[in-house]
């Protein structure tokens, strides 16, 4: 059954599974039914069941992943639309981003160490809040395992997207700008896509959070880590 690993079939399967996941989520309104997570689980189950390798899957999957980079570039559009709002509150934005970035690195490193993670795993977690390409670059430079970072980053994004609005409701973060910013800062592009679902303002500030935290994390992680040692 060579057809089971045909790249076009893999693409069709991914589209179909994602469409079903979206339908499930919109019908059932369960935030843990994240379409990315549900699709990945269904595809992993398919690969295990048919004994098709992940390499075969990626023959089709790479054409989907390819669009991540242009999609990040496209975030420049919502960012541009909010430029005047950004200029008006530049200082609050920079301060909250700086705090979010440093607190994110310090907390993940301390908790992981406390629970007995090995040094290479701890280093792989430091950049977990930011978008995959930046996170992997940072992990490489601090001596972690980049593929593990990629996996953790996706999970953090899904987790942040799923729980974000509930956490913010409980902690009285109600301002749309603050909500978008928090989601983008903590959960990169997945949080941003969740924010896009709510409103353009949420989406724009989420992409801003993703960008600034990405820049800060790339610049500050090595220094913050050396201070923690």
């Amino acid at each position: 059954m060579e057809y089971l690993s045909n790249p076009y079939f893999m693409l069709a399967l991914t589209f179909a599974v994602y469409a079903i996941s979206q339908l499930l989520q919109s019908r059932l309104h369960f935030s843990f039914l994240n379409p990315i997570l549900i699709s990945a689980i269904m595809i992993i189950a398919y690969l295990k069941f048919t004994d098709v390798s992940i390499e075969c899957y990626n023959d089709g999957g790479k054409y989907i992943e390819f669009w991540l980079k242009p999609a990040i570039v496209a975030l420049g559009v919502p960012l541009y639309k909010q430029l005047s709002a950004i200029k008006k509150q530049l200082l609050p934005l920079l301060l909250s981003e700086l705090a979010g970035c440093v607190v994110g690195i310090v907390s993940v490193v301390l908790v992981a160490r406390l629970l007995g993670a090995t040094q290479d795993v701890v280093m792989s977690l430091a950049a977990k809040s930011v978008t995959t390409p930046i996170a992997m670059e940072v992990t490489k430079s601090v001596g972690g395992i980049p593929p593990l970072t990629a996996a953790v980053v996706v999970c953090v994004g899904i987790f942040g997207g799923m729980t974000g609005f509930r956490v913010m409701k409980m902690t009285h973060i109600g301002n749309p700008v603050a909500q978008g910013l928090s989601l983008g800062t903590a959960a990169h592009a997945v949080g941003t896509s969740r924010a896009m679902d709510v409103s353009d303002t949420h989406g724009a500030f989420a992409s801003l959070g993703l960008t600034i935290n990405g820049l800060f994390t790339a610049l500050l992680t090595p220094t913050v880590l050396s201070l923690l040692d």
């Binding site: 570039v73 496209a74 406390l114 993670a117 593990l148």
Partner: protein, 112 residues
Amino acid sequence: MVIQCAIIFGCLALGELVVWLTGIKLPSSIIGMLILTLLLQLKAVKLRQVEGMANFLVKNFGFFFVPAAVSLMLYFDIIKAQWLPIVVASAVSTVIVIVVTGWIHQLTRKYL
């Protein structure tokens, strides 16, 4: 649509060029995003020349992550060995980042 793709991929290519020329440790896509924002601000690119394609890409962002999420299965053994610190540290830290970023932003916009 062709012009829209040309602009978006043009910005990405410029981002790649910046990385290649300077060796800067930032992804080309983030630099490309900043270039696109700058071009829009300078009116070198008009909003309607990119908006359709950009909206399509941004609205379907989640879908492009599916293959990366599937690749998780490659790291099941490392994750299995150290799942507790990985899961707890990531989850706790993510909640902390959301709360700290949101609170500081709400406080500073009120008092600054």
